[in-house]
Amino acid sequence: MATDTFVRPKKGRQAHQRLLVEVGLVIAIALVLILVIPAVVSGFRLGLLGRFLALAIVALGIDLIWGFTGLLSLGHGIFFALGGYALAMYLQINTLGDGELPEFFSLYGVTELPWFWQPFYSLPFTLLAVFIIPAVVAGVLGYLVFRNRIRGVYFSILTQAALVVFFNFFNGQQELINGTNGLKTDTSTFLGVEVGSSSAQFNFYILTVVFLALAYALCRWLTSGRFGRMLIAIRDDENRMRFSGYDPTGFKVLVFAVSGAIAGIAGALYTVQSGIVSPQYMDIAFSIEMVIWVAVGGRATLVGAILGAVFVNLGRSLLSESFPEIWLFFQGALFLLVVTALPDGVVGWLRYRLSDRFRRWFGRSRSVVTPPLLELDPDVGAEKREAIDKR
């Protein structure tokens, strides 16, 4: 497993200084993204970047549960799409006059707004629903699964099945949410501005950057300190944590729900920037791709998740523009390469392997990252190897 993320407790003043530096860095990068980048790149590319940054927010959520807690969810498309649908439903019904229905309803002979559309007339409700609905769905699903100590690949398969189920549900319900066609947001108005217009798109871009920074701050806060150490303990040895008197279920449910909420916000931001939300967001492949962004960037490194999401998508849009037919080959090879050759991802490799190499050149010992350094302790090491052999 990854041997990376022991959060070392730092002495008061030094920690404070480091925190200030980090906050300064995040704000500086956000300002560059907001002020400099729009002046340099064209509107089309800026729109792409905005979408990639929205995807980077999901990647942060996945890193939280996979990188830090060891739960591999293959179903994050559910939460992503739920957030997108919540916002799109608000936009659909608030663009119309009183008593009118969205156009597609007449195609299926629906004359009255279905009950679950009603609350979306209200903006505050919608803004809450964007992250609370995904969080609740994730929490319920997580509770039902984790309560029974279902974990590992079982959990992954169940999330994938849940994804297929949600896809079928949204895809099949033509008369409730327009099924396969999805909901378009381009021509609707949000707070009096047309969503598809360039000024609105620019505002959404800024909003995305702000939310990315906020999501980073949230994940950083959650993964440092006591809660973060709990998550890492669950990842590295859940039984041992249980024997120490903690119940992992609550922590896992909570972190899964938070991750779902983050995905919901990302979905809403992505939806308004791409102009449509459809069941395609719950494609099996899309959800697995989210995981690979994190794997490429580096598990359990939050920066890695963001960079992975942005650069893999950038590479995808460049490559699939010029050679659409080899993109799948390339993507498959990326999966294989990252998993076999770069298990810590690019950022993880830079941070641990390369820095270790430097340390060796200067005659220092390896940096110690995992608390009871499993690899170096002969007894523990043997035990761990045995556990691995048993699999």
């Binding site: 497993m1 996979w66 060891g70 591999l72 293959l74 699903l141 039902l144 699964v145 309560r147 029974n148 100590r149 279902i150 590992g152 690949v153 079982y154 992954s156 398969i157 169940l158 994938q160 099945a161 849940a162 297929v164 189920v165 079928n168 549900f169 895809n171 099949g172 039984n239 099996i284 492949a285 697995i288 995981v291 690979i292 794997a295 037919e325 080899i326 799948l328 080959f329 993507q331 498959g332 090879a333 990326l334 999966f335 294989l336 990252v338 998993v339 076999t340 050759a341 298990p343 045995e386 556990a387 691995i388 052999d389 048993k390 699999r391």
Partner: protein, 388 residues
């Protein structure tokens, strides 16, 4: 009423048989190695394409030969899928034991590659692949002869070089060697396999009941596969070794069982069964690169519900899931409650779920409920090793 019930049961069982034949290989591999193979569906697809090729070969031999292509296609599909599975195990998965989540992602990568492979495979690509294998394995052989230990970076350089040369050769052939080299073997569109004449139509029973021969054939094939696997696992020497490694890997290794060979063999066996499943489903619909993904998630559910390490769990789970899916999805249950007095809300409830896709929603909800009571499946493994 009785006829409707029997018909429903038959359809449910036939859905369950398809699920079971898909899940069988998956269950064996998962039981032994704890590895989830997301490329299982693509191995199925390879089996289906093999069937298509065999069928075309027999078509060239004449109409009378066409009736029997399926008996050649079944072993060939098994063989092709098993060989690809073997290569997959030797090339990728054996480096990832003990990291089940990474294995999941790696096999997904393989499945993407396989899907694109059948879309764009042509002679130029085959030549490129042969060149790649020749250069890489030849180079590694030379390195191993000359060096005491081959460093990681040498392998990386060798791999990069061979890939570059192979891609260059492939592209050159593709552009300059004429249509014979650059024409894809299969079009990107789905292809159709025509069942032999004796599998068309159905067995009529009474006035309304009809059992299609193709479905009956799949049920028989599933039973035959089950019997074969059962015999292999319970009666043969290698089956004994597989069962021993499934129970306790370290102990088996101590007693001299070659666990690596057991792993490779089991993986090949599981993949081969996927190939047979692929051959079977060609009787039901057209063959395309995405054929596998239609079945794979349901097959996973069979493994989860059935529990690991026991075939009987998979059998029961597949049948139950198949029957429930059919009864809900076809509206049989809804109809049953509509006729009864006082059960109208229930009837409305089941009518809402009476489509194939909505039936999946309901089955998933039932599976989650089931797992609340039996988290490890119907027939869980017992003992101290389970928790590790």
């Amino acid at each position: 009423m009785i006829e409707g019930l029997i018909g429903g049961l038959f359809n449910g069982i036939s859905i369950g048989a398809v699920l079971l034949i898909v899940a069988l290989g998956l269950a064996i591999v998962f039981g032994l190695m704890g590895v989830i193979n997301l490329a299982h569906g693509e191995l199925m697809m390879l089996g289906a394409y093999t069937t298509y090729v065999v069928q075309n070969g027999f078509k060239a031999m004449g109409e009378s030969a066409l009736n029997f292509y399926i008996f050649a296609a079944l072993p060939l599909s098994f063989l092709v899928a098993a060989l690809v599975g073997l290569a997959l195990e030797r090339g990728v998965i054996r480096y990832l034991y003990g990291r089940p989540l990474e294995t999941l992602l790696a096999t997904w990568g393989v499945s993407l590659i396989l899907r694109q492979f059948v879309r764009s495979v042509n002679w130029a690509m085959i030549v490129g692949l042969v060149v790649l294998c020749g250069l890489f394995f030849g180079g590694r052989w030379v390195l191993q002869r000359s060096q005491r230990q081959v460093a990681g970076w040498m392998t990386a350089v060798l791999l990069t070089l061979s890939v570059a040369i192979a891609v260059a050769v492939g592209l050159l052939l593709n552009q300059n060697a004429g249509v014979a080299f650059s024409r894809p073997w299969f079009s990107a569109r789905n292809v159709d396999v025509t069942p032999p004449t004796w599998l068309r139509g159905g067995l009529a029973l009474g006035t309304t009941l009809q059992f299609p021969y193709a479905r009956l054939f799949i049920i028989v094939l599933t039973i035959a596969c089950l019997a074969g696997v059962y015999w292999f696992l319970q009666r043969s020497a290698w089956g004994l070794r597989i069962r021993a490694v499934t129970q306790n890997r370290s102990m088996s290794a101590c007693l001299g069982i070659p666990t690596e060979q057991v792993d490779a063999l089991t993986f090949a066996l599981g993949s081969g069964l996927a190939g047979i499943a692929g051959c079977a489903v060609t009787l039901l619909g057209s063959v395309g690169p995405n054929l596998g993904s239609n079945y794979i998630v349901d097959a996973f559910m069979v493994v989860v519900v059935g529990g690991v390490g026991k075939l009987v769990g998979s059998i029961v789970a597949a049948l139950v899931i198949g029957i429930v899916t059919y009864l809900v999805g076809s509206g049989t249950l809804a109809l049953l409650f509509t006729s009864a007095e006082g059960l109208q809300p229930l009837a409305a409830f089941f009518t809402f779920f009476a489509t194939t896709s909505m039936a999946k929603v309901m089955v998933f909800a039932l599976i989650i409920t089931f797992l609340q009571f039996k988290p490890a499946g119907m027939f869980p493994q017992k003992g101290r090793t389970v928790e590790a």
